[in-house]
């Protein structure tokens, strides 16, 4: 069995999710509230966190410059300010979220072609009429998108990161 065969075999088992996103419940609520507020247009934003922590902490809703039910895009000036702000705080976009307002919470071809943060968790929430809630209470899913390959990952919703395992650094910063 080649390495490629093993990778394919793993992908063929859809309920075995390799990665995990640990996300605070209040951040889930913020993301969903933003998606509902902007419906039927797509909503978008990030949850920034300390570089290297993989811990989403600071909710940053962004304006969808496209103001469209089928497309989202950060305004280019907003994008520059966002990244400068994160840099000055030693943060990265741990989560990049957006909503699909008429389709499932799965990355579209457009989402995949634009995805360029290989270390981010791409969180999608669907606000369509027949959206199916999962254990998060919403139609909310998380993916890695690397080199055009989409991998869904488990979402663990927690009240606090204090006791959740979120990587090598288990001690939250309280600066």
């Amino acid at each position: 069995m080649t390495r490629r065969d093993r990778v394919c075999a793993r992908r063929a088992a859809p309920r075995i999710l390799l990665g995990v996103l640990v996300l605070r419940a209040d951040l889930v609520d913020e993301i969903v509230a933003h998606a509902r507020r902007d419906h039927p247009d797509e909503a978008c934003g990030v949850v920034a966190g300390p570089e290297g922590s993989d811990r989403p902490e600071r909710f940053v809703p962004m304006l969808n410059a496209a103001r469209s039910p089928t497309f989202y895009e950060f305004d280019s000036g907003d994008l520059l300010r966002l990244y400068r702000d994160m840099d000055s705080r030693d943060e990265v976009p741990v989560v990049i979220y957006h909503s699909h307002t008429a389709t499932a919470a799965y990355p579209s071809r457009t989402d995949i072609s634009y995805a360029s943060e290989p270390e981010a968790h791409y969180v999608l929430v669907s606000t369509r009429d027949d959206a199916e809630a999962n254990h998060t209470g919403h139609d909310l899913h998380s993916y890695r998108i690397v080199d055009g390959v989409v991998t869904e990952e488990e979402i663990q919703v927690v009240e606090s990161y204090m006791f959740a395992h979120t990587g090598s650094d288990d001690v939250p910063d309280h600066a």
Binding site: A66, Y72, G77, H100, Y114, S116
Partner: protein, 92 residues
């Protein structure tokens, strides 16, 4: 003229992981050519057939070059050139 170039995560494979590198040039196009001479492969991630990719933004200081002369936008000594992938997508 030496400018500082801020490199996004996805292109740091071309800069040995460096977030920020120096480059020379009097406009954006020259800076990118100079980058390519030391960080091979980076140019094709930004430009095809002389045009900036739709999903890449380049800023000279605070100005998106799409609104400032495109690849011919001038850079000054001590300017910062920031490369950022667009954050965008959609349902289709």
């Amino acid at each position: 003229m030496a400018v500082t170039v801020s490199v996004p995560t996805i292109l740091r494979t071309h800069t040995d992981g460096e977030k920020s590198v120096e480059a020379k040039g009097s406009n954006v196009s020259e800076v990118i050519d100079d980058l390519e001479s030391r960080h091979g492969g980076i140019k094709e991630r930004l430009i095809t057939d002389g045009k900036l990719h739709r999903f890449v933004n380049i800023y000279v200081d605070d100005e998106d070059i799409r609104f400032a002369g495109g690849l011919e936008a001038p850079v000054q000594e001590s300017s910062t050139l920031t490369i950022l992938p667009a954050v965008a997508g959609g349902m289709r």
